[in-house]
């Protein structure tokens, strides 16, 4: 299971790096979503995996009996998903605004804030 998830993370990272190297910022954003999910899976996997052992405490007991799944990484991932979703929503709207105000989605053409030096003048 660990190996499977590790390979999945690797594929996600590879795909997202490929997307993020694109000049089109929309592709970049999609890459960012993929890599943030890879990071979430990394946390999840790093917290050790268990099969079919929900972290429940039986009635009457103070602590879980036997091995149970680690709930903390799941809480962390949940937080990270929520934050990541907010950031992604913002980034997507920003890219849309960039497209409408700057008229381009290509990062090479976004030179308003840092204009190119006019060579030879």
């Amino acid at each position: 299971m660990d190996a499977l998830l590790a390979i999945t993370i690797g594929i996600l990272v590879a795909a997202s790096v490929y997307l993020m190297l694109a000049r089109n910022v929309l592709r970049f954003i999609f890459g960012l979503v993929l890599i943030s999910n890879a990071a979430n899976l990394t946390i999840f996997t790093a917290g050790r995996l268990t099969e079919g052992a929900p972290p429940l405490i039986p009635a009457g007991a103070d602590a879980p009996l036997g091995d149970v799944a680690n709930a903390l990484p799941q809480a962390l991932v949940l937080t990270a998903i929520v934050i990541g979703f907010g950031l992604f929503a913002f980034a997507l709207v920003l890219m849309f605004r960039a497209y409408t105000t700057l008229g381009t989605l290509y990062s090479d053409d976004m030179r308003i804030a840092e204009p190119r030096e006019e060579v030879g003048k």
């Binding site: 890599i35 890879a38 996997t45 990484p73 950031l87 605004r97 700057l102 308003i112």
Partner: protein, 499 residues
């Protein structure tokens, strides 16, 4: 203890809510000023307690460390919160005149105070995942502030700022996941205790490098700084000033914290890299500044070169060098925010920040000229201003470990800083205005003059204070460095000495 640590976090958020509800009324902007004044009081109270007791820690929600979220204030954390409050107060007064109604209606003051809350949280937290959350709070509000107004340049700068910062966030998050996987804890004091006992120290160094890159982007280190000069000159001057003063410094703080507390096992490897990065950051920043012809662009590149000095202090890892880094942090936040505020006044009365299109400020606005000279000379390291002592300590620390080249680089970068400052002086202040107009301060109304110049004068007074009476500040920085190098007080305060 808990309320003492939680107040500086809660106050900005309460202020933000009130400012948001009243955003269409004039009261909204005064709430921001009042909230930041209250924050200054709260942080000063926290500071007096820290001075008395060394390190104080509080467990949130009654969950004992290392299971709950811990807030900690040691000397470094406390002084950073105080300086955050001072800068925030100055900028919120300045914003009274600088921020137009439209931006206020869009919620400028609310975003500003959320940003301050995020910064204060990052300085006070003792939990790694909580640090990530504070970074995000800070980041999302800084996104909003940066593009508020929506000019073409802002959107353009915003795209680069947002994308590069999000990459750093993801690296940070992956690093946290891996570190948790290795140690089973996220409490920084507990990490300090657990990490040295791990078998696979090589893996620790790998994770350390992930953190170095993640915080390096936030702190705008070479070669990860490109988002900063792309974005910092585009928003309102208040926003530029608070970004310049605080945001990169949170990255520096996080680097200092993690690389003294947790990742100090393989200093020969990690800190040598930091040393190279520090030198390259100083040099590229100052050379980038020399090539610019806009006040804000020059100042933006100088942030980068100054960050190099602070990282130099961390990289040398001696008591004197760390004291220099802490002193530098405090001095730099005040000076840098002030220079951006002055740039804002220059634009208001002279019409631009482009050096080719302005001039005559010395003749027409001598008061502004004097107020500019104080932080500008301090930035360049003229005695007896605060920057001189900061650079002096760092160069002395470099010489102490016989780092002749490093000391030479630090001194040469100081010289080049003078070049940039004299360029601003000669172009904006000395030469006549190209239009033949006189940029007098009387172009501003009386209220505007008070609201714009008062914070500048206040921050300049602080620079003079640190400069003329450096003794208590240096002693403070040395104690702070001692705490960083021997984290036992920090660890004991958090974990209560309980095993």
């Amino acid at each position: 203890m808990t309320w003492l640590l939680a107040t500086p976090l809660v106050l900005p958020f309460l202020t933000a809510v009130a400012a948001f509800l009243l955003r269409t009324r004039p009261a909204g902007r005064w709430i921001s000023v009042a909230g930041n004044a209250a924050l200054l009081v709260a942080s000063a109270v926290l500071m007096t307690h820290v001075l008395r007791e060394g390190v104080i820690a509080g467990q949130m929600g009654g969950w004992g460390a290392p299971f709950g979220i811990t807030l900690v204030a040691d000397y470094l954390g406390a002084v950073m919160v105080v300086i955050t409050a001072i800068t925030a107060l100055a900028v919120s007064v300045y914003a009274l005149s600088d921020i137009n109604d439209r931006k206020e209606h869009l919620g400028y003051h609310a975003l500003f105070n959320v940003l301050i809350g995020g910064v204060a949280g990052a300085f006070l937290t003792g939990d790694l995942f909580n640090l990530y959350v504070w970074f995000e709070v800070m980041l999302i509000s800084s996104f909003g502030l940066l593009i508020l107004g929506g000019s073409k340049a802002q959107i353009d700068g915003g795209v680069k700022y947002v994308t590069l910062n999000l990459i750093s966030t993801i690296l940070f998050l992956s690093g946290i996941g891996l570190l948790y996987g290795m140690t089973g804890t996220l409490n920084m004091a507990d990490l300090a205790r657990t990490v040295p006992t791990l078998e696979n120290q090589g893996l620790v160094t790998v994770v350390a490098m992930m953190f170095m890159v993640a915080f390096g982007v936030k702190a705008a280190l070479f070669p990860l700084f490109f988002w900063l000069p792309a974005a910092y000159h585009t928003p309102a001057f208040s926003v530029s000033a608070i970004f310049a003063g605080l945001l990169t410094k949170v990255g520096v703080y996080a680097l200092i914290r993690m690389f003294t507390l947790v990742f100090d096992g393989d200093v020969a490897f990690t800190h040598t890299i930091l040393l190279w990065i520090a030198c390259l950051t100083m040099v590229t920043g100052v050379l980038g500044a020399a090539a610019q012809n806009d006040i804000r662009k020059i100042l933006s590149f100088h942030i980068i070169s100054q960050i190099g000095y602070m990282i130099l202090g961390l990289a040398l890892m001696t008591p004197l060098a760390l004291a220099g880094a802490v002193f530098y942090l405090v001095h730099h936040i005040v000076v840098k925010a002030n220079l951006f505020l002055i740039g804002g006044v220059a634009e208001r009365i002279a019409g631009s920040t482009d050096l080719a299109r302005i001039g005559g400020l010395y003749k027409s606005a001598p008061l502004l000229a004097v107020l500019f000279l104080i932080p500008a000379f301090s930035l360049a390291g003229f005695p007896p201003l605060s920057g001189f002592w900061a650079k002096y300590i760092l160069v002395a620390a470099a010489l102490e470990v016989e780092g002749w080249i490093i000391a030479g680089v630090a001194l040469a970068v100081g010289l080049l800083t003078i070049y940039s400052m004299t360029k601003i002086w000669a172009e904006a202040f000395w030469k006549a205005h190209p239009d033949g107009t006189e940029p007098v301060l009387a172009r501003l109304t009386r209220a505007e003059r008070a609201q714009l110049l008062l914070p500048i004068a206040g921050l300049a007074a602080m620079t003079l204070l640190i400069g003329f009476f450096p003794e208590p500040f240096v002693t403070f920085a040395e104690t702070s460095a001692a705490q960083l190098l021997d984290p036992s007080a920090y660890v004991n305060a958090v974990l209560g000495g309980a095993e």
